[in-house]
Amino acid sequence: MTLNRMTGAALLAATLALPTLASAEVTSPECIAPAQPGGGFDVTCRVAQTGLADAFGGPMQVTFMPGGIGAVAYNLFNTTRTDDPNAIVAFSTGSLLNIATGKYGDFDENDVRWLGTAGADFGAVIVKADSEYTSLEQLMTDLGNDPSSIVVGAGGSVGSQDWMKAALLVRETGASPMDMRYVAFDGGGDAIAALLGGSIEVYTGDVGEMASHMEAGDMRVLAVMSDERLDGAFAEIPTAKEQGFDVEWTIMRGFYMGKGVSDADYNTWVDAFKAAYATPEFEQVQADKGLLPLNLAGDELKARVDENMATLREIATEAGLIQQ
């Protein structure tokens, strides 16, 4: 390489790196999954990677940033990478719950720009195929009479959204979530093993992860915690609401960006999401990744997040997760 070309390359790099350029193009899109590979955030980023490939002329890079249940990424995008126009970070309703309970430190939902969703999953109440419970009503009656008589378990810690689903069920029966017997496992896989092995009686998981177990028939989904019945393989599962219990848990999966990202760059991304939502390919990507359609971008998502945060704060306070 000659000296001239090296200077040229250096100049070019310097130009690209200039942070003051207000509407720097989205040149090297990157999706950050704030967790180890293989989990829900990984899936979320894969949706953007494949689903937005057309908008950015190829699949974007996926980077993993585990640490502190997403808190590390949230802090990073509030302190150093606040104006990075290339990076989007995956979040879920679980992240919102963590913000509500103060686990992400001083930053709240107004400190990032909510961008768009990848799709949704819904809570599910699951028992083993040979369980004595064949309907949600039976389970709720027993839970209401004595919440400590039934061992409930899931893959998340106390105060996580897996726990929250169980707490909401107990609360609906009129009993106190504090009396619930909840066993925290290390991820959904271990919890499913414990359910199949009979260590726990009820598993409060997600409907998406049940896709691979539906046909095998080793587990029974008593209820899905969505507003309306789902489609496809899940069409047979009744909602909790139609069985007379007002419990709902939507796991929204999507992306945020730093607060300092310019409107122009932010809108480039929002438009890319909106354009993708309209294509059948995106629908297919969502389905392949086990997600159900929930397409919100820009202001729509911001409004939904604000609404969710209010509800989450209310529930978390009631459940004793937020100390007054």
């Binding site: 950050i32 180890q36 590979p37 293989g38 989990g39 990984d42 899936v43 894969r46 699949p59 996926v62 980077t63 993993f64 940033m65 585990p66 640490g67 502190g68 249940i69 808190a71 590390v72 949230y74 802090n75 990073l76 686990k103 992400y104 430190g105 400590s148 061992v151 378990g153 998340g156 810690s157 106390v158 105060g159 996580s160 726990w163 017997r181 909840y182 066993v183 925290a184 290390d186 991820g187 896989g189 271990d190 499913i192 093993a193 414990a194 199949l196 092995g197 009979g198 260590s199 726990i200 896709a211 691979s212 177990h213 046909e215 095998a216 080793d218 392949d288 990744k289 086990g290 997760l321």
Partner: protein, 504 residues
């Protein structure tokens, strides 16, 4: 049995297709290199290459064969840096350093590398044979393992590891305690309370096992090397051309067999993996080796090397069982493989063998081939790997440091973890200066965390009734075995002494 054979025939039909055969070889080779790099293990190798395998547009069985090749290649490669550099490539290779590295220092790097390759091959092969014969049955049994049973298993593990007690019992116990303390950092899942995080978001989910291994072991070793170099105590090792001997194999054949079985069964359990398997195997073998073993283990005993190597590769195979037969991942890496299956729209579980036999059996057949391929790839390369030791330290040390930093950063992308491995490295170096052995620290960290979580799970299930811990034959069996590994060596030692006295 007929089903198994016809299934395997289908599987080999798929796996022996030239293209798939090439992918197995490629995956195994790449995996060996990934595993050998400090900080990069099977989980990262598979995670990094998954999108590539998907993006290349291979048919699902080919992509999975490639990924599985990388998985057990990396399990295989983890031992290389353990033996040569005393830096474990991943968590399952920690125990390999204990006897593997002393062998390398004694000028027997080639012997250690080739023997461990054979042990790994046998462990991996036994695992895949057991998997094809009894997979579904074993998986059914494995899920009945309750938190109370895991508590008993951890008691057994602690009992077999009590033999690790080095020069000073107090220091060993203190080391294990330090490990336990490190394990308590992070959100306590049973109460949701953050413990010892001091408001740092980076450790809210605890310290990653990999960070502890690379920091405490890897970085501390590098500091130790630098210190030796500065003080001029570093001796250069001659090129060694040693190779595994028939006598070694004869001496270790029962060790390898026992540890393959131990490793496989621990691997099948969804809550435990290669690191627990290799630790239990090493502890058991040291116990079995009697008074003579107490002296030679840790100084380059071939049995101490063969035990963890057979076990960790058998565990890697065992972890595939619940994933393939029940759709439940038994380890982090199999969780990613499960994700890969779902990406290709294949539902893992009992139905996979009926609906997509070419994939289920193709994958299993590729594991048979992969094991042979790894042995064939590894044995001729032993000499080449062993030559690494002749690279002057002032080139080698910084190179390993850079590789470890790049490796860790490429996985976690968080500068905090780089500080973390540095501080842990300095801490580990101080511990070494104070004559602490680092293995108890690591084991306290792994086993302690599992012990606490499962004990508290068991007590949540029983509503605080301690009776649950002894309420089950599996627990009782494990407590019995724990008692046996402690009492048997003492009893045998006493009997040998009595007989000697009787003769005299």
């Amino acid at each position: 049995m007929g089903d198994v054979l016809s299934g395997l025939a289908t599987g080999f039909g798929v796996a022996l297709m030239p293209f798939n055969l090439m992918l197995v070889l490629l995956g195994c080779f790449a995996g060996t290199l990934i595993g050998a790099l400090p900080g990069l293990g099977p989980i990262n190798g598979v995670a990094i290459l998954l999108p590539i395998a998907y993006g290349l547009g291979f048919p699902p069985e080919s992509a999975l064969i490639l990924l599985a090749g990388i998985y057990y290649g990396a399990e295989y490669g983890g031992r290389i840096s353990s033996i040569l550099l005393n830096v474990p490539g991943d968590s399952g290779a920690v125990m390999t350093t204990l006897d593997g590295h002393p062998m390398a220092l004694n000028g027997e790097a080639g012997r250690a590398l080739s023997l461990s390759a054979v042990a790994s091959f046998v462990g991996g092969t036994i695992a895949v044979v057991l998997m094809s014969l009894f997979g579904p049955l074993l998986a059914q049994f494995a899920v009945t393992f309750s938190p109370a049973n895991y508590v008993a298993l951890m008691v057994f593990a602690f009992a077999s590891l009590a033999s690790l007690v080095g020069k000073s019992t107090v220091k060993t116990l203190l080391g294990a305690l330090i490990g336990l303390m490190l394990a308590t950092i992070g959100i306590d899942s049973n109460t949701g309370v953050a413990r010892y995080t001091f408001g740092l978001p980076d450790i809210l989910a605890g310290i990653d096992f990999l960070i502890v291994v690379v920091g405490l072991f890897g970085m501390a070793e590098l500091l130790h090397l630098v210190e030796q170099q500065v003080t001029g105590k570093l001796k250069t090792l001659p090129v060694d051309k040693s190779f595994v001997r028939w006598a070694d194999l004869a001496k270790t054949k029962w060790t390898i067999l026992r540890c393959s079985l131990i490793g496989f069964f621990i691997g099948v359990l969804p809550g435990t993996g290669a690191s627990v398997a290799s630790a239990v195997a090493y502890g058991t073998e040291k116990r079995m080796a009697g008074a003579e073993g107490q002296r030679t283990f840790g100084t380059g005993d071939v049995r101490g090397l063969a035990a963890p190597e057979a076990a960790n590769n058998a565990a890697a195979g065992g972890a595939m069982v619940p994933m393939l037969t029940l759709g439940i991942p038994g380890s982090g890496t199999t969780a990613i493989l499960l994700g890969a299956l779902l990406m290709f729209n294949i539902q893992p579980g009992p139905l996979m063998f009926a609906q997509r036999p070419e994939i289920a059996w193709g994958l299993i057949a590729s594991m048979y081939i992969g094991n042979v391929a790894l042995l064939v790839i590894n044995l001729p390369l032993v000499g080449l790997f062993a030559r690494m030791l002749t690279i002057p330290q002032h080139y080698l040390t910084p190179l390993i440091a850079i590789l470890a930093f790049v490796g860790i950063y490429s996985i976690v992308g968080n500068p905090f973890d780089l500080f973390m491995i540095t501080w842990l490295g300095i801490f580990g170096w101080f511990l070494r200066k104070l004559d602490f052995s680092l293995a108890p620290v690591i084991l306290g960290f792994v086993l302690g965390g599992l012990f606490e979580n499962n004990l508290r799970r068991a007590l949540s299930i029983s509503g605080g009734d301690w009776y649950i811990l002894i309420d089950n034959w599996k627990s009782l069996l494990l407590y019995g075995l724990a008692l046996l590994v402690v009492v048997l060596p003492i009893w045998m030692g006493r009997r040998a002494r009595n007989m000697a006295e009787g003769d005299a």
